[in-house]
């Protein structure tokens, strides 16, 4: 149990007050009663079996923040980091601010924010490993870093930047509500440390002494509709009509209509203040921590497309693609696709902080889009594998009928699971906290890529063979060109409507679009031209003439390069452009602009700057994997294979059970 001092100051003690039955979200504040199986259990904090004596243990608790009073003294952040022993580059709680007005009628509103222990914790639902739990005790959403495999998906879905991905450690950790303090009736360290009379804590909907408001929103805070957060605000001072952020996020908050109380998120046209809007290429900035995903998604989509063509093509008259017509090429291509997809899956795990724990991705099939994507891709991959081994003849010792039945079964299952996997993949990006992604364009892009790359790869491989054989290629390439046209049109339509959506919605999505048109201005234009050129070239190939001989093939090869480059740039843009609905940062802390600068200038080499010197920690991840796997092996050796298998079985059962509970 957390040790309480005899003379613990009053301000650190959670008042025991009456609250309404339901929160402002309309949900019960009491999370479990005496009859519940969740009642009367120990949180087992650090293995301590005792049960806390807080009388309101099963009520949802939350923070109350009086924005009028916050002085940005960092005491809350520091008390948190001190208690949780955090390195400088991580913080469970952060104070950022928005400011507005004109000297001396200037106002700054500071916002201290950690985890809001939401009623609808999107982190918990998004996490593929089920590292998150929402407890009946205090309604705390706790995350277990030991379960986490460091995919960072929770950091994508959380609108408040609460989960902290430590790239160095390869895992996420976050605010734990100081449940050890709560168990003995004390407020969390942060609220107890507040020096401005701003941050407080209690049963949700209970207003601290002297406070008159418990609002759900203040400027800079993402709409509570996304997660139903357990934080309430007081903000009574009138604010300037426009508030800006000190970080480099091109966002401002404005009151646009007379009498309107709410601030709207708008793009801040950075650089327009000084008349210097900078358009650039910024190719270097296209590379990010998400690089493995750029390749993983493109390859997976291409592989699925190519397989669909190989399998379905002959049924639609493209005989030259069949095993019968080109057994060697067909089989080689199948094997290549298998290897390619294996490679894609491999690099996707390199996106993890703990690649060797990839199997935990299946833990949350019930809620997590990541789990579903991984599971459906795994099905596709298995089916593709089954189809390939039965097709290339590894099972020819079985009766022919059996083999062909199996091959057909695998093939058709792969035909179904492939596109399903891409649908699941697209769902990953439909995140409310990332409005740039949250559009159907993701789906058209993924399916578009499937058609375009699938047709391109199959077309190029088989036309090369046809050319070698001395046959014409247009019979193959014209339909392939149509498929590419279809894919490119799909992509184009998506992008067209996406751009319209970005401009219209005004919020972080529009800010992403602004970055797209400025920082990546030239890159964006060239990508669009690339798409247009590819489309016209493919259309010309489909309608007019596909070209023949070496010249024709070379033309297709050239187009292939253009398409691949366009796709690569487009997909990289997709990842680097996203602007989450996070809280405003400060001038240095939580300012991506400063972080970039610190990395480039070398300032980040000093650990006390609080910025990790780079974003790529694959080597560390591999070293960690090697070390932990070695430890696993030793454990297995120590406890014996039988027990280990039993454990495995138990875990598998839990995963299955979790799917239905």
């Amino acid at each position: 149990m957390f040790k309480v001092r005899d003379n613990e100051p009053d301000y650190a003690i959670i008042p025991n007050v009456e609250v309404p039955e339901k929160s402002q979200h309309g949900t019960p504040i009491q999370l479990a009663d005496e009859n519940s199986e969740l009642f009367g259990k120990s949180l087992n904090i650090n293995g301590d079996a005792e049960i806390g004596y807080n009388p309101n243990r099963y009520k949802q608790h939350g923070f109350h923040f009086t924005a009028d009073n916050c002085i940005a003294c960092h005491a809350c952040e520091s008390a948190c980091s001190e208690k949780n022993d955090l390195p400088a580059h991580i913080s469970f709680r952060s104070v950022g601010y928005v400011e507005g007005g004109t000297y001396p009628a200037y106002q700054r509103m500071n916002i201290s924010m950690a985890c809001n222990h939401c009623e609808d914790p999107v982190c918990l639902k998004g996490c593929p490993t089920r590292a998150y739990t929402k407890y009946a005790e205090y309604g705390a959403v706790l995350q277990d870093p030991d379960i986490c495999f460091g995919c960072g998906y929770c950091t994508w879905v959380c609108p408040y930047n609460a989960p902290q991905l430590d790239l160095e450690k390869g895992q996420v950790s976050k605010c734990n509500m100081c449940v050890d303090r709560l168990e003995v009736g004390l407020k969390p360290a942060c609220a107890s440390a507040c020096l401005g009379g701003a941050l407080d804590f209690g049963i949700i909907e209970s207003k601290p002494e002297n406070r008159i408001q418990a609002k759900m929103e203040i400027p800079g805070f993402p709409t509570p509709g996304i997660t139903r957060p357990n934080i309430r605000f007081q903000q009574t001072r009138s604010l300037p009509k426009e508030m800006t952020r000190p970080d480099t996020m091109p966002i401002r908050y404005t009151k646009e209509e007379a009498g309107q109380a709410d601030f709207k998120v708008r793009v801040r046209h950075k650089g327009s203040e000084s008349g210097k809007i900078k358009r650039g290429w910024n190719f270097k900035k296209l590379s990010s921590r998400e690089d493995p995903l750029v390749f993983f998604t493109l390859i997976s989509q291409g592989v699925i497309g190519a397989f669909l063509l190989l399998f379905l093509g002959p049924m639609f008259g493209l005989d030259m693609l069949s095993v019968e017509s080109h057994p060697v090429t067909n089989k080689l291509m199948l094997v290549t696709l298998l290897v390619l997809e294996g490679f894609a899956l491999g690099i996707s795990t390199m996106h993890l902080g703990k690649p060797h724990r990839f199997y935990r991705a299946f833990n949350n099939l019930r809620y997590s889009p990541v789990s579903r994507e991984v599971a459906s891709l795994a099905v596709f991959y298995t089916m593709l594998g089954g189809y390939t081994v039965t097709t290339i003849g590894l099972f020819n010792w079985l009766p022919h009928g059996v083999v062909s039945f199996l091959s057909g079964l695998f093939g058709w299952l792969a035909v179904i699971s492939g596109p399903v996997a891409l649908y699941a993949m697209h769902k990953i990006y439909r995140i409310k906290a990332r409005p740039f992604w949250n559009h159907w364009q993701v789906l058209t892009s993924f399916y578009g890529t499937m058609f375009t790359l699938g047709a391109l790869w199959v077309g190029l491989v088989f036309s090369a063979v046809l050319l070698y054989e001395g046959s014409g290629i247009s019979e193959l390439m014209m339909p392939m060109a149509w498929l590419m046209v279809f894919g490119l049109v799909l992509e184009g339509i998506g992008l067209f409507f996406h751009a319209r959506y970005l401009e219209k919605c005004g919020n972080e999505a529009a800010a992403s679009h602004w970055v797209q048109r400025t920082t990546f201005g030239y890159t964006y234009v060239v990508r669009n031209i690339g798409l247009g050129v590819s489309l016209f070239a493919a259309l010309a190939g489909a309608v007019v003439c596909s070209g023949e001989g070496i010249a024709g093939f070379s033309a297709w090869l050239l187009l292939g390069f253009v398409i691949m480059a366009t796709m690569l740039v487009g997909r990289a843009l997709f990842y680097v452009l996203v602007i989450p609905t996070t809280m405003p940062g400060a001038f240095f802390w939580r300012n991506t602009g400063f972080q970039e600068q610190a990395r480039e200038s070398g300032l980040a080499e000093m650990p006390q700057v609080g910025v990790l010197p780079h974003e790529h920690y694959q080597e560390e991840a591999l070293a960690r994997a090697a070390k932990e796997l070695k430890e696993d092996l030793q454990t297995i050796k120590k406890q014996g294979l039988v027990k280990s298998l039993e454990q495995l079985k138990e875990n598998m059962q839990l995963v299955i059970k979790n799917c239905f509970s």
Partner: protein, 726 residues
């Protein structure tokens, strides 16, 4: 579990495994918070928390206190004494005996060659009171140089000087408890929420219970300005004009406390004659505060049953800092707001023991608020120490800010710097470099070996810091509080008290005078020397200090508690027992913006850093909030110059240039920029630091600069990184 995994691991929370909490007092600012340092089973300090029983901080700590335990393992600590012949050589590790012998022989050589005062000693506000007293004893009694001062000249000298001029003695008359009683609070150039967050919290607690006008005078829209009821955005350097005009209105409208003035002050006629010239209409043209506001504030302040003023560097660090303090004191004298509950003139002090050095270090005189100019004081101390009173000079020597120019001109040849870093803290860095280069011997005594000044040092003496030692600090409200020894200094580093004692042994007088080995032994001398005086320590013991989490002086022998306020009887320290009302002419001598240098440049602090970052720059969880220097600049001004947010800009003054990251904000006026002073090779490359005629404190806050956009941002970034070793 509402949802989550079926089978849960135990909840794992970081546990630092504290087994013991040791009581001590924070070593950063002068708020004087009681801290408990948590030690784990290995005896390693792993945590800090505020003491709940302490009246000052009532269990709270600010960011610096929260992470203070990290200082014990911070980078750059000095662990071995170092010596070198020339500054172009590399330092060599030596024994303490070697380093001390060398130091003593260099001091003696220089004194013998160039005269006793040609060796100067500059200390700090960071040492413990027992160490200050011992250093004073060593300097005044054994080494015998009159050029001895502390870096407090850069922060509190004006307050000291102003108190002395108004009240006949130093000593802040009020306390934090005055917030509980006051009906009007006026803050001059003080940004409590950032500079003294715990004092701000004390004020905040009162404001939660009842409201009274809080008026902040500051050219910058600081956090305190925003939290205030009224913000007076004054033109830099014109506080005296505002103060005179406030007094003008009060006297003109008959709002003064006639009875108090008559009974307890002198000089009223000259005073009222002068302030008569500062009618709000003319004053508003100079200080930039409109006449209605001046009248409004004057009435508010004078009519309040009790009103208090606080101030910090906005007043102290200017060419009329001492005058500003006198003006504030006079405002409170004419309204009868001295020595009453809620009515006071309270300087919010800077360093943890700036008060201790004022009281006991003998920098500006002799220990216990005694002065060199009085024969009786010289005699008394000489007798107590057992030396010839003729060994003392009869007049105070140079202040820190005069010592450096004297090195420049060759008058001073040797310098002993103790826990101060003039390479970063003094105005006009280029001049300081040139100055330090000239020294025949520079002894640097510091806890940190990487303190920038070691670049010019010949001898480095590694000392312990904060709770690696034992002794007392005095805070802003005269509260003496105990620093317990939590762990020992690293390596061969030693407590400063030990170093002074060892040094004393190497001087003739040092062998005559008693130098107690322990801090508590020294503390007893303080009690004896202060018995019956204003700053009476005689009733205090270490045990009492810890039990009460600090005791305010005066605490006479046998007293159970200290006294919260001074001058409650209206008796002041001037021989006639009266406070002086001093007329203050406004002399406009600041370097002001002009066509060539069109911006005001002001420097100041940020909450996460302290002084020259030798400590805070190494604690990641503090440093990360401002890891590199920046400039607050108005976006409208920046637009005209084509300067962007988050870009580097170059500032040029008549002294030099600096390259700094730009933060565009309306917090500052279009013709003003603000740069934190903590960073090496930055704002003090630009500052002029014109001196106050009384306190010799430099005007860090009023300088003129030109600003240029930087074309090659990469080169600017490289230049900035090169200046940061921590």
């Amino acid at each position: 579990m509402l949802f989550g995994r079926q089978k849960k691991n135990p909840v794992k929370l970081p546990d630092k495994g504290v087994v013991e909490w040791k009581y001590t007092t924070c070593g950063y600012c002068s708020t004087g918070c009681s801290i408990e340092v948590g030690l784990n089973a290995d005896g390693t300090p792993v945590s800090c928390r505020g003491s709940s029983d302490a009246d000052v901080n009532r269990g709270k700590l600010c960011i610096k206190g929260i992470f203070e335990y990290e200082l014990f393992k911070s980078a750059g600590r000095g662990t071995v004494p170092l010596v070198r012949d020339k500054t172009i050589d590399a330092y060599k590790e030596v024994s303490w005996d070697h380093a001390l012998d060398r130091s003593a022989s260099e001091i003696k050589r220089i004194q013998e060659t160039y005269g006793r005062d040609s060796f100067a000693i500059v200390s700090t506000g960071q040492l413990l009171t027992e160490e200050f007293y011992t250093l004073g004893k060593l300097t005044r009694g054994a080494i015998g140089t009159n050029n001895y001062d502390g870096n407090t000249t850069l922060c509190m000298a004006s307050a000291v000087s102003g108190y002395k001029r108004s009240f006949g003695s130093d000593g802040p008359p009020g306390c934090y408890d005055d917030f509980e009683h006051t009906e009007c609070l006026m803050a001059f150039g003080s940004n409590l929420p950032e500079q003294h967050p715990i004092i701000y919290w004390r004020l905040r607690q009162v404001l939660e219970k009842r409201s009274f006008p809080v008026i902040v005078v500051d050219p910058r829209v600081t956090m305190f300005s925003q939290m205030a009821d009224m913000h007076l955005a004054i033109t830099p350097g014109t506080d005296v004009v505002l103060l005179n005009s406030l007094a003008h209105v009060i006297l003109k409208e008959g709002l003064e406390d006639q009875a108090y003035i008559k009974a307890n002050t002198s000089g009223f006629d000259e005073f009222s004659e002068l302030v008569a010239q500062y009618d709000p209409v003319s004053a508003s043209k100079i200080c930039g505060i409109d006449e209605d506001t001046i009248r409004n504030v004057a009435r508010l302040y004078a009519k309040a049953d009790s009103a208090m003023s606080i101030w910090t560097m906005g007043i102290n660090q200017s060419t009329h800092g001492s005058d500003g303090v006198v003006g504030i004191n006079s405002l409170n004298l004419i309204t009868g707001n001295i020595g009453v509950e809620g009515g006071t003139s309270l300087s919010i002090t800077g360093q943890c023991n700036a008060m201790g050095t004022r009281e006991w270090s003998s920098c500006s005189g002799l220990p216990g608020y005694r002065v060199l100019e009085k024969e009786e004081d010289r005699q008394y101390i000489a007798d107590y120490w057992g030396i010839d009173p003729e060994f003392f000079p009869k007049k105070r020597g140079m202040a820190q800010t005069d010592i450096f120019p004297a090195i420049e001109t060759g008058e001073i040849k040797g310098l002993w710097l103790i826990a101060t870093n003039p390479m970063t803290s003094m105005p006009n860095t280029a001049r300081i470099r040139k100055t330090l280069e000239k020294l025949e011997c520079l002894i640097v005594q510091d806890a940190y070996q990487d303190v920038e000044t070691t670049e010019y040092g010949h001898i480095f003496l590694p000392s312990g810091l904060w709770a690696e030692k034992e002794g007392v600090f005095t805070n802003t409200e005269r509260r003496v509080n105990l620093v317990n020894n939590v762990i020992d200094p690293p390596g061969l580093a030693k407590p400063d008290l030990w170093i002074f004692n060892q040094m004393a042994k190497r001087f003739d007088n040092g062998q005559k005078i008693r130098f107690p080995e322990t801090a508590e032994g020294v503390f007893k001398e303080l009690g004896e020397l202060s018995k019956g005086r204003m700053l009476d320590y005689s009733g205090m013991t270490y045990q009492m200090l810890e039990e009460q989490c600090g005791v305010q002086w005066p605490c006479t022998e046998g007293a159970v508690i200290g006294a919260p306020r001074l001058y409650t009887d209206g008796k002041f320290q001037y021989p006639d027992g009266k406070a002086k009302l001093i007329p203050l002419d406004f002399i406009d001598n600041n370097e002001k913006p002009d066509d060539e240098y069109p911006f005001w440049l002001s420097s100041g602090r940020v909450v996460e850093h302290f002084h020259t970052r030798t400590r805070t720059g190494k604690v990641g969880n503090q440093n990360k909030f401002s890891p590199t220097p920046y400039m607050e600049m108005n976006p409208d001004a920046a637009k005209a110059l084509g300067i962007e947010h988050m870009s580097y800009a170059r500032l040029v003054s008549r002294r030099g240039d600096a390259v700094v990251l730009v933060q565009l904000t309306q917090r500052v006026a279009p013709n003003t920029v603000f740069i934190p002073f903590h960073f090496h090779d930055c704002v003090n490359r630009l500052t002029l630091g014109l001196l106050d005629p009384y306190s010799r404190q430099p005007a860090f806050k009023q300088n003129a600069v030109r600003i240029e956009a930087v074309e090659d941002q990469d080169a600017a970034a490289v230049r900035n990184v090169a200046a940061r070793t921590y």
